[in-house]
């Protein structure tokens, strides 16, 4: 069917039609030729009527199929031929001897009407190929043609401005003759246009129209040659006209009636082809998509099955629907198949926990959030197992329906939990032992003071009592024992302070370090003046610190800077610079300096670099400084050049963390 549009029946019918019309045509022509010999007026009337009938037949045919045809340009031509027919009718009626119009119009009127009709005809045939595949509004086109026809007729009958075509005595005017040639040229143009666009029209219709145009040109040429209205060329012209009109009719019948099936089938075939192409394309796409989906599903499936984390999908809220081997392993089942149909209740240690879990967490799943918790689940044998759980609802619609599925990813974290637990215990132990140590140091220092007091006390009681019995050396010994005891007391005092840094520190509070520094300066005022030291300081920030400890820290560093300084003009500068996470402070002096190998050692308790007779001190000061800075989350270090001075740096964090 698709391959063979013309069925044998159809071609048979066509052939019959052709034979019939040809035979009828030849008979009609012959009859007309004979008739023209006897009564030319009658011949002309009939010939014209015949062409008018054809023109109107064209119109009515076209008008009735205007809604169903896809040959819209033919509809345009059909409408044009209606009005051409009207003008031709007027021409026939105005013909010499018809006696319809006043005789004063003479032979000029039919000739004018003739020329007008031919102009209209050639115009419509030129426009015809231009309108191929264009959408037209038949009613609008009809109105346009009607308006144009009325106006053009108006130029002849009403305004009488249409150029004369026949002058009584002078014969045909120049206008008439030139018009005939012009019309020939217009028709030639129409032919060229049609030929150029022949691909857009059915080949049979093209052939009929082309022949029609050629014959119309022949008709026009015949009329240019005629000498008398009754001669042969006139006759031939009319024949040609009838044939050309008939061919237009045939073209229409061809495209609109005789061949509607073929046209229909052609459209159908085109549509079917398009549909088949689209279908094939779609099938191809579906195949591609299917294989993509299959690949993705396969990928997911293997990922799901071989994943080293447990995965399961719950359906209907809390029922196990799908899981992987790793999940079964974690929960102590032989395979995921064994878990099919399990309720989540079976995975919780008890029903209360199951309920509490739902109340606590399911709200987040309902909101489409990813839920992440660490939670103890129950294995098949009833033993607990620590798991990390991540859950997410699979439903992508809102509101979320959890019955549509929830994906859970879980991992066994028992070993981590165990390690965490151990770490926690170790930390606790460490903290306890640290506390105990500090407590011990405190108590020890405290209790050490009592015997010391006794030693000093009794020695001092001894001195006046035995003054007489002791020689100078004996008195010296007592004095030195007392001094030693005093030194020991300082040591104990410092140890006490040291042990109190962490245990007895005050809470951190927002502190203006400038105020703290002013306090330190005033306490060191006497020593600064004694040494005639030059102290310069920058502005300090506000920080969350233990103000007493920072005061102690600054005092020790300043005091060291003063103490270990033999310069004739001791200079101490203190400042601070802001860094990314902390402030870096410095205390710089121009004192004796420290050898690099001692940079670490000076911060160790009781480590002294100098003999007692050179510089007093217990060797606890910098250790205390270090402890204070560390309690605040900072660090302390020194940079120095022997003989040039030392700079102690320490940092204090901007954000308070920990304690």
């Amino acid at each position: 069917m698709r391959q063979n549009l013309k069925t044998p029946d159809q071609s048979q019918t066509e052939k019959t039609t052709w034979i019939f019309s040809s035979v009828f045509g030849i008979f009609a022509m012959a009859a007309l030729v004979i008739l023209s010999r006897y009564n030319f007026l009658l011949f002309h009337g009939l010939a014209e009527l015949f062409s008018i009938a054809v023109a109107w037949a064209v119109f009515f045919l076209v008008w009735n199929i205007r809604h169903v045809t896809d040959a819209e340009s033919l509809v345009f031509v059909g409408i044009a031929y209606f009005f051409i027919g009207i003008v031709d009718l007027l021409h026939t009626l105005a013909y010499n001897g018809m006696g319809v119009f006043d005789s004063q119009w003479g032979a000029n009127l039919p000739t004018q009407l003739w020329i007008l009709a031919r102009y209209m005809e050639s115009a419509s045939l030129i426009l015809f190929p231009l309108l191929f595949r264009k959408k037209i509004q038949p009613a609008f086109i009809f109105a346009c043609w009607a308006g144009a026809t009325v106006l053009l007729l108006g130029t002849i009958f009403f305004w009488q401005i249409f150029p004369d075509c026949y002058v009584e005595g002078g014969g045909l005017t120049r206008f008439k003759i030139i018009s005939e040639y012009a019309i020939c040229i217009l028709l030639g143009t129409a032919f060229v246009l049609l030929y150029a666009r022949r691909g857009m029209v059915d080949p049979v219709v093209f052939r009929l129209l082309a022949v029609s145009i050629v014959i119309t040109i022949g008709a026009e040429l015949a009329f240019t040659f005629y000498v008398s209205v009754y001669d042969f060329s006139n006759l031939l012209g009319h024949y040609f006209k009838i044939v050309s009109f008939y061919l237009i009719y045939l073209a229409l019948v061809q495209s609109g009636l005789t061949r509607p099936y073929q046209v229909l089938f052609k459209s159908l075939k085109d549509s079917e082809k398009k549909y088949q192409d689209a279908y094939a394309q779609m099938e191809q796409k579906v195949r591609e998509r299917t294989s993509e989906i299959e690949a993705a599903a396969h990928e997911f499936e293997s990922l799901f099955n071989s994943s080293q984390v447990g995965m399961m999908v719950l359906k209907g809220g809390r029922f196990f629907a799908k899981g992987n081997q790793r999940l079964a392993d974690i929960l102590g089942y032989a395979s995921p198949e064994e878990m099919e149909g399990l309720s989540m209740k079976d995975l919780h240690l008890n029903e209360n926990r199951f309920r509490a879990f739902g109340e606590k967490h399911y709200n987040r799943l309902h909101h489409g959030e990813v839920l992440q918790v660490e939670y103890e689940l129950k294995r098949k044998d009833g033993s607990p197992v620590w798991c990390s759980l991540s859950g997410k609802a699979l439903d992508i619609n809102r509101p979320i329906d959890l019955d549509r599925g929830v994906l859970w990813i879980l991992d066994d974290i028992s070993s981590r939990k165990l390690a965490e637990q151990e770490l926690k215990e170790t930390l606790n132990k460490l903290e306890r032992s640290n506390d105990e140590l500090a407590q011990f140091a405190y108590v020890a220092s405290h209790d050490l003071q009592e015997p010391l007091r006794a030693i000093v006390g009794f020695l001092q009681l001894l001195e006046p009592r035995c003054a007489g019995q002791l020689d100078e050396k004996g008195r010296q010994y007592i004095k030195r024992s007392v001094n030693a005891a005093h030194r020991m007391q300082s040591l104990i005092q410092d140890l006490l302070t040291l042990s109190r840094v962490n245990t007895k520190g005050c809470p951190f509070e927002s502190t203006d370090l400038n105020v703290v520094f002013t306090g330190v300066l005033s306490r060191l005022d006497r020593r600064i003046k004694e040494k005639a030291a030059n102290v310069t300081a920058e502005t300090f920030p506000n920080l969350m610190v233990d103000p007493n400890q920072i005061s102690t820290l600054l005092e020790h560093l300043m005091s060291n800077a003063l103490k270990y300084n033999g310069h004739s003009e001791p200079a101490i500068s203190i400042g601070c610079s802001e860094q990314k996470n902390d402030y870096r402070f410095f205390v710089k002096d121009n004192g004796i300096g420290i050898e690099p190998k001692f940079y670490e050692r000076i911060f160790i308790v009781f480590q002294r670099l100098h003999g007692r007779h050179e510089y007093h001190g217990t060797g606890v000061g910098l250790t205390l400084c270090k402890k204070i800075v560390e309690r605040h989350g900072g660090s302390i270090w020194v940079e120095s050049t022997i003989g040039r001075g030392s700079t102690f740096f320490f940092t204090l964090p901007k954000e308070r963390m920990g304690k």
Binding site: E450, R453, G457, F458, V482, K504
Partner: protein, 149 residues
Amino acid sequence: MTNTDNVKPAQVLLVEDNEDDVELTLEALKNSRLRMNVHVVPDGVEAMKFLRFQGEYEGEPRPDMVLLDLNLPKMDGREVLKEIREDDDLTDLPVVVLTTSQDEEDICKMYKMHANCFISKPVDFLQFTEIIKQIEGFWLQLVKLPRRR
């Protein structure tokens, strides 16, 4: 018994477990110009018994001042002070905390418990003597205390 008669010796209760400290304190008090009876008890329990004239302390005088050490066996100085302040008969008794402690926390706590004063014993005996002199001068001579029944 009244405290108005300066001829009568002042009664002082020293609560101290360390014998060395007792000795040194007594030595320091010896230098006093004041006539003074110093009673010594070695722990808190004994101190309370003394203050309440219980057991062997029946017939002992009521002290004009208590010198109280903090770290004591059986019942420490903090508890003793607490009991004194909670006892209607003793609540107005001047209590001087005399201890080796310099702990801020102790100091605050003792004042909150209405110790009359807190004194940290210095290591140096000469300084200690000076302090004792000032304590007795202040508490036994200078200040007016409520009349005893």
